[in-house]
């Protein structure tokens, strides 16, 4: 009897550390941040309750909405450019005809293990108006990083370049998990390469595609490093993301209540997008 009880309890002991860490470092701060979002607090003196003032302020804050627009753009690029490109890349990397596959895979994976600072500094030099390689090649002094309309381009290029390798590795793992007999059967049935791709590969990759889309959406909605180091969010907030704006209000200007309210809005947005994605996946599985 006692042994049975112990067996039942054992799994909880194994998962306990993870939950303790989650409670202390994730759930606790989340609740704290939720409470702070209803206060005016500079981090030192006692906070003052201001009800929904922070949320009302956000609703009419043009910089916040600009950062929302930028973040949605980054997310859209991540979902609709990075995901398809990484699938194509994974197909190429999976090809038995590709020579030096391991080396090529390592090269594509390199950006994800390279320091963001080094990447951004390199791209800053590449996109430099007067001395950058890109303008040298184009033969025109385009103000990539200083123009409000063009500054998004370098940030998007870095996002694509940086995340392509990682997501293609996920797809590659998915491709290698597909039963080869399915392809053989399709071949016997006379399916062309394209037909095999659409009828075998894509349906079999559905769980991986969902997983990749999910992590890339959540990651891109919290994007910070690339625009922060490349443009600092400028010029005139043209590349500022929501998390950058949260950081600015919270940790540069010490307006923790306002920053927490931004965090709350972001949390709700990510949770909503994730819920929609999961719903869509469920429907497509039916």
């Amino acid at each position: 009897m006692m042994r049975t009880t112990m067996y039942k309890k054992t799994p909880y002991f194994f998962i306990l550390p993870a939950y303790v860490v989650f409670l202390v470092f994730m759930f606790g701060p989340m609740i704290f941040s939720l409470i702070v979002s209803f206060f005016n607090w500079t981090g030192i003196k006692s906070p003052e309750f201001n009800g929904l003032d922070n949320l009302k302020g956000i609703a009419t804050d043009s910089v916040f909405w600009l950062s929302v627009r930028n973040t949605l753009l980054y997310s859209a690029v991540s979902l609709f450019v990075v995901v398809p490109l990484s699938l194509l890349l994974a197909l190429a990397l999976d090809s038995p005809h590709l020579r030096g596959r391991l080396v090529v895979r390592a090269i594509y994976f390199a950006p994800i293990v390279t320091s963001t600072v080094a990447i951004s500094q390199t791209f800053m030099m590449l996109f430099n108006t007067n001395f950058g390689l890109i303008n040298r090649m184009l033969g025109v002094p385009i103000d990539w990083l200083g123009s409000r309309t063009l500054a998004l381009v370098p940030v998007i290029v870095v996002i694509i370049w940086r995340w392509l390798g990682l997501t293609s590795i996920y797809f590659l793992a998915g491709l290698q998990g597909i039963d080869r007999e399915l392809y053989d059967a399709a071949k016997v049935d006379g399916a062309t390469t394209m037909q095999r791709f659409f009828s075998v590969t894509l349906p079999q990759l559905r769980p991986i595609t969902f997983f990749v889309s999910m992590i890339i959406l959540i990651g891109s909605m919290q994007i910070f490093d690339e625009p922060q180091i490349l443009t600092g969010g400028g010029p005139s907030n043209a590349t500022r993301s929501v998390v950058q704006y949260l950081y600015l209000r919270g940790f540069t200007q010490f307006r923790f209540g306002y920053a927490s309210a931004i965090g709350l809005v972001l949390f709700i947005a990510i949770a909503s997008f994730s819920a929609v994605q999961m719903r869509l996946r469920k429907e497509s599985d039916l």
């Binding site: 702070v36 981090g43 400028g234």
Partner: protein, 436 residues
């Protein structure tokens, strides 16, 4: 509900602050032969080098006790100080406060809880130092930090470029624009303007006698002579930009290789910048151009308005209230920053010009020939204008003003905002955001 939330948050914050060591007023007197450790936080290793040198010298002459320096280099000392305070972690004894971070401590007069009021310790010696440098660390009439550099600004330029095109070195801003137009015809820019920081605009504005805030920290940029000064400066910058006389660089490129490359390729002839720019950016950036540079006083205004120089940046050193060795830390700070020997040694060790008038007049400063500047005695140029170093009054609202500048100066550069529109926008945003 509101009450519950308030009580909960106040309890959490209160408990954190109680755990913090900031409020404790304890003092330790070292015993004979004992070693006392000063914990120092700074954002720049240069300061560690200098304080270590001074402490080593003090130790040699102190038979009673020895001082050890435990320095930590961190990006933002004030954020770390606040975080350490809230988390109840150990705080430093001596802290370097970059002048742009001081306003964070001014909010709700928090500075009184964190830093020691040095006003009485400075006492009568107040007048022995460049007056404008005290303002950076002053709150409600009390001084909380000692400044590390004069930060007086001059025009660093390449004489060969001016000679080549037969253009005279400008002495007024009006001449500067005219010379800029002439050089622009040859594809050379006379100076640099960064697109999202406040560098050249603030320099010229302060030089013209403008102030963003008054001595009480109230925003006065939009009022009377300050608004006029700002518009005058912006109009002049507009003229220079339209004439393509200034090289516009990104704010985050300011410290990188962009400007040195522009100098070394002869595309930019010079730059108005403070003293620290020479040792921190210019010389390391264009080492191979040693001997090709000269220094001229910053151009002045033809109508005689304002000062002969301006200020940009600075770092003050302060003693924390939580320190248990305040007197020892003051002895070190007094020796390093307030003595003639310390001021001259600071210049010799880390290259920052003294803030003490007597030190500025020393032959060690005025007579030194600088190989990088072709043997020019550039110290004499700084000493000459030091008396006219304008103050920069601080305010808790300054971070909001700076961010407003970062966000809106590019719009001015693009021509989307006129001079007066930019000033009005800066005032409006600062007033709004400071209320958040």
């Amino acid at each position: 509900m509101k009450k519950c939330l308030s009580v909960l948050l106040v309890l959490v914050v209160g408990a954190s602050l109680l755990m913090a060591g900031g409020a404790k007023e304890e003092s330790i007197t070292p015993k004979k032969g004992e070693t006392v450790t000063i914990k120092m936080w700074t954002h720049d290793d240069l300061y560690r080098q200098f304080f270590q040198k001074r402490i080593d010298m003090m130790n040699e002459n102190n038979p009673d006790y020895q001082i050890a320096l435990d320095a930590q280099i961190m990006p933002n000392t004030i954020t770390s100080l606040i975080t350490a305070s809230v988390a109840g972690e150990e705080m430093p004894d001596l802290i370097g406060v970059e002048q742009g971070w001081f306003p964070t401590l001014m909010e709700d007069s928090n500075v009184e809880s964190f830093l020691v009021d040095l006003t009485d310790k400075i006492g009568d010696r107040y007048d022995d130092y460049v007056q404008g440098r005290w303002a950076l660390y002053t709150h409600e009439g009390k001084i909380y930090g000692l400044e590390s550099a004069l930060t007086a600004s001059v025009y660093y330029y390449q004489p060969a470029i001016f000679e080549k095109y037969g253009v005279a070195i400008p002495t007024t801003w009006e001449e500067y624009i005219a010379a800029g137009k002439e050089l622009a015809e040859h594809g050379v820019k006379i100076g640099v303007m960064d697109n999202d920081a406040s560098g050249i605009f603030s320099l010229m504005f302060l030089q013209r006698g403008g102030q963003f805030f008054d001595q009480d920290g109230n925003l006065v940029l939009g009022e009377g002579k300050n608004r006029e000064a700002a518009i005058k400066v912006l109009d002049m910058l507009r003229e220079a930009l339209d004439a393509k006389a200034l090289q516009v660089v990104l704010g985050n490129e300011f410290w990188g290789s962009t400007i040195p490359t522009a100098f070394s390729t002869g595309k930019v002839a010079g730059m108005v910048a403070p003293d620290w720019y020479n040792t921190s950016v210019l010389q390391p950036g264009v080492e191979s151009m040693a001997g090709d540079w000269s220094v001229a006083p910053m151009p002045v205004w033809e109508d005689g308005s304002g000062f002969r120089t301006s200020v940009w940046g600075g770092t003050g050193f302060a003693i924390t209230k939580s320190s248990k060795i305040k007197d020892i830390v003051w002895d070190v700070l007094d020796d390093a920053y307030m003595s003639l020997d310390g001021q001259l040694d600071r210049y010799k060790t880390i290259g920052f010009y003294p803030t003490m008038y007597e030190a500025l007049d020393s032959p060690a400063i005025t007579e030194e020939e600088h190989p990088f500047f072709g043997g020019q005695k550039i110290g004499a140029v700084f000493a000459d204008v030091a008396l006219e170093t304008p103050p920069l009054w601080q305010s808790p609202a300054r971070p909001f003003l700076l961010q407003a500048m970062v966000d809106n100066l590019p719009l001015f550069i693009e021509g989307k905002l006129s001079s007066s529109e930019l000033v009005d926008t800066l005032v409006e945003i600062t007033e709004r955001d400071a209320q958040l």
